[in-house]
Amino acid sequence: MTETKTAAKRFAYYPGCSLKSSGGEYDHSTRAALKHIGVELTEIPDWVCCGASSAHNLSHELALALPLRTLILAEPAGLDVLAPCAACYNRLKVAETSVAQDPDVKKRMEEIVEKPFGGSIKTVNILDALEQIGLGETSARVVKPLAGLKAVCYYGCLLTRPPKKLTGSDPDNPTGMDNLLAALGAEPKFWSYKTDCCGAGHAMARSDVVKTLVGKLREAAEEAGAEAIVTACPMCHANIDMRQETEPGNRMPVFFITELMGLAFGLPQAQGWLKKHLVDPLPLLKKLNLL
């Protein structure tokens, strides 16, 4: 499984609105972890919102036109676009493949955005990017293997669905994050809730739904023998971090996969990211001597 490539990789970087605000730890840990493995990220200048949930809930044309505008903006630089946020990745990728698969959609979207898209760049998510670079680049830089950390990988909905419009991870049993977690020395636990919904955008208007779904996830994680949940989506992270209904001392910590990379790489700023979580992960990490 180990392959070491010395070629540096470059990506255009699309943080998205969440990573610039409440999902800040994901932004910081992604930038730090990727820099550490020799990847250069260039933030797309003047990027705009991907539309998230609200665009596709209100207008199917807007849902494609808005993210396409960002891809058109990024195209001249000639770099593939890395979007760590699962929702942004999903919106950008669906726009990219929808125009590639259907010339009528392409024509209509270019009409709306008033610019053409050449289709010469691709959108990738964090798991794709790390796989492309080669897991060996990650495992080679682990100085503090996360030994003893039993965690379930929670992919959520948007990294793998709809499969026909995305990059090909199995929508029922994806393994990219599990492989990455193992490469960091931790113990990914198998569970059947890898891609079950957390309630997503219902967080504000129907938090009761989110609380129920998050409760199921937490129970399932415990049954699988996990002490933590790992994710690659800021919405899932926020929901799991903030909507567990067990007593405060009895909540499962949730990590961004890139935070764990930072920890395993021995990056000093990693603890700072973890302090932003509402469910404090430090007691667990201290117990396992991982700090």
């Binding site: 705009v48 919102c49 609200s54 209100l58 207008s59 505008r69 909905c157 669905r161 509402l278």
Partner: protein, 140 residues
């Protein structure tokens, strides 16, 4: 959810516009897209849910999940004005419009203490975003 997704699709096929467009189900959909992924007849069920929402709004049907609709309207309004989402504005406007200040107080306090919420800038591209939204909808 008043009807399950299977029922919604069948009702569409039977032309039961009124019942479908007035349903709570279409607004409770979280767009997890599991349905689309699994449907053996290859119906984009999640896509259908989205279109039904669009049609319901177009026909002026009162949304049975008003806070959900308010959330989406506020979200798009901010994006239209600024090009990007701005969380302090989103939370502020949402709490005001839905009169739900007391909900999530604890979470709000924690997020403020940890300085998790940032005031995102209005970007140059907001003018293009406004044009795109005005062309493609929704009407804001």
């Amino acid at each position: 959810m008043d009807y399950n997704p299977t029922q919604i699709i069948r009702m569409c096929a039977l032309g039961m516009e009124d019942e479908v467009l007035k349903s709570r189900t279409i607004w409770m959909c979280s767009s997890c897209v599991t349905c689309t992924t699994r449907c053996p007849m290859e119906i984009d069920v999640a896509g259908v849910m989205d279109i039904l929402k669009e049609m319901a709004v177009e026909r002026g049907i009162e949304c049975p999940e008003p806070n959900t609709k308010r959330f989406h309207d506020i979200f798009m309004g901010i994006v239209r004005a600024r090009g990007r989402m701005n969380e302090p504005m989103l939370f502020g406007h949402y709490k005001l419009r839905t009169k739900s200040f007391m909900d999530d107080m604890e979470i709000g306090k924690e997020m403020m203490k940890k300085m998790k919420i940032k005031y995102s800038p209005k970007v140059k591209g907001h003018k293009e975003v406004r044009k795109i939204i005005d062309k493609a909808g929704p009407k804001i």
